[in-house]
């Protein structure tokens, strides 16, 4: 099979059908609550046809497009994280039986997901969470099971959102690898089609069930031009050169206080971040005291309980909490996992209720340092 092909837009449903026939639960973008969210969808008709969005710090609005584009929008309110790493998960239940305790591990039936519409930055985020949950000493079996069965339909970005900076983070706007298939949506001379790239044998086997034709060199060149244009539309940038060191050497920079004055410590940035992975566990007993269960729930380094330990709390101030988040994301993450924890999706900027922009905060710290150096 040709590794690159052309799928007519009105045949997109065939991809959904093929995936469902192979036992996949299809998840993709759809309209809900005046936003485009990822949810289980059964057909291509449920995609947000003709919709886009405008994004800026603390602002998201749906907008109508002038075409019938399926994927002509930007980052959604939340990422795919909630499917692979659910916000709440029961870890085990325990039962007292006389003097002995009986423990049963919860093993939810694994759902075989097909994600339709994974953006290149989000694909990078999934690869980062793979490192977090599947390498090192502590592994998450449930994540691995969900990940093993996952089918990824990546969709390259032919438009850049107002808070996107994937080109700075080298994660987009085109997915290079690690997908099963990738799509680039094209409108050209009145035609509406997708240029499809096969990324895996599994992807090839699914595409065999979908009616496709050959993509001409011209059509492929069109997608390349579109992706270059997306890159040039990118509103935000983050200079990554020496960034881990910059932050690590500026832990007492006065700018942290400045951010702290503006930060709500609400935790939204960490919740919407596609790579943030922190969780807490809660033990619950029933009233009889005979049964107990342990739950895992998403946590945030912005909550007070997060840093509460025997004897006190080592991150009381807002300054210390914001600094922890940003320096982990952009600096110590690199030491820990070998990559930056930021993929440039811009969600933390859009969904911060007061519009704190990490690219601006980093620039403020960098700018001050550069000035200081010039002054030396």
């Amino acid at each position: 099979m040709n590794r690159t092909s052309k799928l007519e837009a009105n045949n997109l449903q065939q991809l959904f059908t093929a995936l469902q026939d192979k036992g996949y639960v299809t998840v993709g973008p759809t309209l809900r609550d005046e936003a485009i969210v990822y949810d289980r969808i059964g057909s291509a008709n449920e995609l947000p046809v003709g919709w886009s969005d405008e994004q800026s710090p603390a602002n998201y609005r749906l907008t109508k497009r002038s075409d019938d584009s399926y994927f002509g929008f930007n980052a959604t309110p939340q990422s795919w994280k909630k499917f692979l790493y659910p916000p709440l998960r029961k870890l085990f239940t325990m039962r007292r039986d006389g003097k002995s305790l009986e423990l049963s591990n919860e093993s939810d039936a694994n759902i075989k997901y097909a994600f339709v519409g994974v953006r290149p930055c989000e694909l990078s985020a999934i690869l980062i969470q793979d490192k977090v949950f599947q390498s090192g000493e502590y592994r998450d079996d449930a994540y691995s099971a969900a990940r093993r069965d996952l089918f990824i339909v990546a969709v390259n970005c032919t438009t850049a959102g107002g808070t996107c900076f994937c080109s700075s983070m080298k994660t987009g706007p085109e997915a290079q690898k690690d997908f099963d298939i990738s799509l680039t949506e094209v409108f050209r001379d009145g035609a509406h089609f997708f240029v499809v790239k096969i990324g895996s044998e599994l992807g090839a086997s699914i595409m065999e069930l979908v009616e496709t034709g050959a993509a001409s060199a011209e059509e492929i060149e069109t997608t390349d031009a579109m992706l270059r244009q997306t890159e040039s539309q990118m509103n935000k940038t983050m200079e990554t050169d020496g960034l881990p060191r910059l932050l690590a050497e500026n832990l007492e920079h006065p700018h942290w206080e400045d951010v702290a004055k503006r930060c709500l410590t609400c935790g939204n940035c960490t919740m919407v971040c596609p790579t943030c992975f922190c969780s807490t566990v809660e033990d619950i007993t029933d009233l009889s005291g005979q049964n107990a269960e342990r739950l895992r729930r998403w946590d945030s380094c912005f909550t007070v309980d997060f840093s509460k330990v025997a004897g006190g709390n080592f991150r009381i101030s807002t300054k210390s909490r914001y600094r922890q988040w940003l320096t982990h994301k952009l600096s110590s993450w690199v030491e820990q996992f070998g990559v930056s924890g930021c993929v440039g999706c811009g969600r933390c900027i859009t969904w911060c209720p007061v519009g704190i922009d990490l690219t601006a905060e980093v620039q403020a710290i960098r700018g001050a340092e550069t000035q200081q150096r010039k002054g030396d």
Partner: protein, 262 residues
């Protein structure tokens, strides 16, 4: 096993001060859990539920309502002495309630207008939370409280463990539920970022902004949220009123509402 003294079930008493009764009724509203609750504790004093009123001491006292009269002050001190652990429930008991709106006004004038014979009225000039007068072991927020949180707190006290009651923002609950942020996506002013979790983010789940029923969260940065409200087109008066709700007299909300008063 729940902590039992001399082989008997822990005795629980429910008391009421200035309040609407909604919070204590949430215990009766526990429905499916009610039998389990009744099985685990001995409800020794709960006038709203039973004519059986046993004298103290009690292992756990649950207190609803705010302190508004000199008699209340004496009464809560007696209750404190008779209870092993004291749990206060609801916005009235933990922040002074909606009736704390009078704290900004001249109470004598109200009394004069409302009552034919004001000389019979003996009242304090402010409505205050229980914790302003006696030591409280646990404050359960909400207007009304969440019945599951109440059962969780009773449960935790019975088993001598920490209650799983969160003090972080409502935003985290919205995100766990997958709600789309009403402030960012719709421009609806929402107190969620400065309000404590507990209700399950009810209002944002129905496209409304949070009203702050659970009071200030653990580290509320109210001035910054107020500035955002202003950018969304709220007037200074609107902002003052937004913070002056059921938890108006909770410190962070009180300060913020005053900052935007004319």
């Amino acid at each position: 096993m729940p902590v039992r003294r001399n082989g008997r079930k822990p005795r629980v008493a429910v008391f009421k001060f200035a309040s609407c009764d909604g919070c204590q009724l949430s215990l009766l509203d526990a429905e499916e859990e009610l039998l389990a609750v009744a099985d685990a504790i001995d409800i020794a004093f709960f006038p709203e539920a039973s004519r059986r009123m046993l004298k103290g001491p009690y292992d756990i006292g649950i207190v609803e309502g705010s302190i508004t009269t000199p008699h209340d002050v004496e009464h809560i001190r007696e209750i404190r002495k008779s209870c092993g652990a004291l749990i206060t429930i609801g916005a009235c008991a933990t922040a002074g309630g909606i009736q704390a709106l009078r704290n900004w006004k001249d109470i004598k004038e109200f009394v004069r207008i409302v009552y034919a014979s004001p000389e019979h009225i003996s009242t304090l000039d402010r409505s205050l939370p229980i914790g302003s007068f006696v030591h409280v072991d646990f404050e359960l927020r909400g207007c009304p409280i969440n019945k599951y949180e109440l059962i969780e707190v009773i449960n935790a006290f019975l088993h001598k463990r920490k209650p799983n009651v969160h003090t972080h923002s409502v935003c985290i609950d919205c995100k766990l539920k997958g709600n789309v942020c009403v402030m960012v996506a719709h421009g609806t002013p929402c107190l969620g970022p400065v309000t404590q979790s507990g209700c399950g983010a009810i209002c944002p789940s129905f496209d409304r902004g949070c009203y702050g029923c659970y009071g200030p969260m653990e580290s509320p940065n109210t001035p910054v949220l107020a500035r955002q409200f202003s950018e969304l087109g709220e007037t200074q008066h609107d902002i003052s009123l937004a913070f002056r709700g059921f938890n108006a007299y909770a410190e962070a909300f009180r300060r913020e509402s005053e900052a935007h008063e004319k």
